[in-house]
């Protein structure tokens, strides 16, 4: 019996080592760390066919998990996809290496205006290449809102959720806020006509907090993903949400044929802009391959396929005509020039402001 158990143990241990050994011995490989389903179904397959580089695709569930791994070092990944505000902080921590643009022949396809905006987070665009982007705006159910507020409801304004006289009535059909202080609070500042990336703590404590405290009892819940299904089911009628998520809710409601219509709107006051960035960790092993994949992802036909699959806008000007008309014509995904001017980018906040933002959000959630 004992010999039996020991034998089994030795075997399993040997097996584990072999698996690990086999993986490290392989060449022409690339470790890609991204969100789940955040790429078209056949992109990586086609890439492997074309270049012979095998891509190992792993997924993370939050920027925080990614950040922990990057900061701990030796993550083993060659390309990671942080959001822009996280990227900014991580650049300062020195976890990325500069991208060698001489290897990126498709770099010229990128939208110059967006690259310029991104310099707020990454001066000189040295470390990150924009992958997909979106905005933080409002997901609405027009029919339900009309039923509650009447025909003159301010559907395309932050008034809908920040003005007490509207939100107090919308409470009856359900309102959700993102559980993300760094998304919600800047939007409030913008609504108040202030600098959305304000660095003054009194701005948050004296202006943002009172407004949110006043309306907090009308918010059904604070959550960052639940609203997708609830919008699609018609359980809530307005949500502060991310553009791609709301688009997804709309598609789902459509597929379910449950007579729920969901729309995404970028409020006329403007909205926050965020990017998911491709970046290469400083200690990546397959740097060459990482550049080849990043370059591949900047090819207009490739990134257009991805946008068609995930319904997030890309930052590739040359791909615009290859994107399905249904998506490229949708101003909530690809805003027109007029709206674009009103978009602002979420900047990285110093720890002091981070703390204030978090504290306000907690106070609003708990009411204390």
């Amino acid at each position: 019996m004992l010999r039996h158990i020991i034998g089994k143990l030795a075997l399993t241990i040997a097996a584990v080592f072999l698996v690990n050994g086999a993986l490290t011995a392989e060449e022409k490989i690339l470790h890609f760390y991204n969100w789940s389903d955040y790429i078209a179904e056949d992109t990586l397959e086609n890439f492997t066919k074309e270049t012979g580089i095998k891509v190992v695709y792993d997924v993370f569930d939050s920027n925080e998990v990614l950040e922990t791994k990057l900061l701990a070092g030796k993550s083993g990944f060659d390309i990671v996809v942080p959001s822009n505000s996280f990227l900014a902080r991580q650049i300062k921590a020195g976890v990325f290496q500069k991208i060698d643009k001489s290897k990126l022949t498709n770099y010229g396809n990128l939208d110059k205006a967006l690259l310029k905006v991104l310099e707020t987070n990454d001066p000189g665009n040295l470390y990150g290449v924009p992958y997909l982007w979106g905005t933080t705006g409002l997901g609405i159910n027009p029919a339900k809102i009309k039923a509650v507020l009447g025909d003159d409801a301010p559907m395309n304004s932050w008034d809908l959720v920040f003005q007490e006289k509207y939100i107090s009535k919308l409470k009856s059909c359900g309102v959700s806020f993102l559980d993300a202080p760094s998304d919600v609070l800047p939007s409030v500042l913008l609504y108040l006509g202030e600098d959305p990336n304000s660095l003054s703590t009194s701005m948050y404590l004296d202006k943002v907090q009172p407004l949110l405290m006043k309306i907090r009892s009308h918010v059904t819940y604070y959550h960052s993903s639940k609203y997708i299904n609830d919008l699609a089911n018609g359980d809530i009628c307005v949500a502060i949400g991310w553009s791609g998520d709301v688009a997804q809710a709309a598609t789902r409601a459509d597929e379910a044929e449950n007579n729920v219509e969901v729309q995404y709107v970028i409020p006329t006051e403007g909205a926050g802009l965020w990017f998911d960035m491709l970046a290469i960790p400083a200690d990546a092993k397959n740097v060459e391959n990482a550049h080849i994949l990043i370059n591949y992802l900047m090819r207009p036909d490739v990134i257009a396929e991805i946008t068609n699959y995930v319904w997030y806008a890309n930052a590739n000007t040359a791909s615009f005509n290859l994107v399905d008309k249904e998506i490229s014509g949708d101003t909530s995904i690809y805003p027109d020039a007029e709206t674009k001017k009103k978009l602002f980018i979420f900047d990285v906040m110093p720890p002091k402001i981070d703390r204030v933002q978090n504290r306000i959000m907690t106070r609003i959630r708990t009411g204390q």
């Binding site: 143990l9 399993t12 993986l23 490290t24 789940s36 955040y38 997924v59 701990a72 597929e255």
Partner: protein, 282 residues
């Protein structure tokens, strides 16, 4: 002697069971839903099973989780049994309480702390001695064994404390070597504890998310990680389909094992009766 259950008891019992099993039944029913929405019924369809079989990402994650859970369960049971034996049988040696509390510490430690500290350990080990090279299945397995062992140790030692020590002493009186006593007497008696320890480790490993997220590396996405990361793009009924398979798998194992135990019990009883008859006949 069978007692008849009163109506009120039956009511409470069914509420309890409904609370435990209704969610699972709903989950299975919705895996056959036509709609992409997890909560809206739109007709019967098996298309999500087809989609699931095409989704290499999820299948890889399931396979990864199963392998890690299997390996974890064996090693954790082995180590946990030894630890339990030491805690319950070796008397009050020096550092006894220190040993007992360090072994059970992972039970009360928040997962985030365990995960982060293991991550830091692995990273610094790699910089200092070059092993483990990178993170992946191996490091996940080590971490899972670490916390699963604690659970097994507690189960085994409490079973050992309940067990009548005089049986072991009798075996030793009759000349059995301590090892022989352990394998021939102790192990069969604590077998139920070992089996439940094995199953518990398997389950704990299958659904560990926080610790795994910290210590995972490239090419080692487990099922919980896959499910949680798909939340951003929306959970699809494919997840229900996977869950249905897992429930099915678990049911088959539980049913076969209980059928086997019942058969063995009956066989044992027949043998005992036969032996008693023989003795009486003399």
């Amino acid at each position: 002697m069978r007692r008849k259950l009163s109506h009120r008891l039956i009511l409470f019992l069914s509420i309890g069971y409904a609370f435990l099993y209704l969610p699972i039944i709903i989950l299975i029913v919705y895996s056959f839903n036509e709609s992409r929405l997890v909560t809206v019924w739109a007709g019967f369809s098996t298309k999500w099973y087809g989609e699931l079989l095409k989704d290499q990402g999820i299948l890889d994650a399931v396979w990864m989780s199963l392998r890690i859970a299997f390996l974890t369960a064996w090693v954790a049971t082995f180590l946990g049994a030894i630890a339990g034996q030491v805690m319950a049988r070796f008397g009050r040696f020096r550092f006894h309480s220190g040993f007992a509390s360090t072994i059970t510490a992972p039970l009360v430690m928040p997962e985030v702390i365990t995960g982060l500290s293991l991550l830091l350990l692995f990273v610094s080990m790699e910089t200092m001695i070059g092993w483990p090279e990178g993170r992946g299945m191996l490091t996940i397995w080590i971490s899972h064994v670490t916390f699963a062992t604690a659970f097994v140790a507690v189960i085994v030692s409490s079973r050992l404390r309940e067990m009548d020590i005089s049986i072991e002493e009798a075996a030793m009186d009759l000349g059995a070597h301590p090892f022989k006593v352990f394998f021939v007497i102790t192990i069969p008696i604590i077998m139920p504890a070992l089996i439940s320890g094995w199953l518990l480790s398997f389950t704990l490993s299958m659904d560990s998310l926080v610790i795994t997220s910290f210590v995972a590396g490239p090419a080692s996405t487990t099922l919980p990680m896959k499910v949680f990361s798909s939340v951003r793009m929306g959970v699809s009924p494919k997840i229900n389909a996977v869950a249905t398979f897992i429930v099915l798998f678990a049911t088959v194992i539980v049913v076969t094992s209980s059928v086997m135990t019942i058969r063995q019990d009956k066989k044992k009883q027949r043998e005992i009766q036969a032996a008693m008859k023989e003795n009486l006949g003399k």
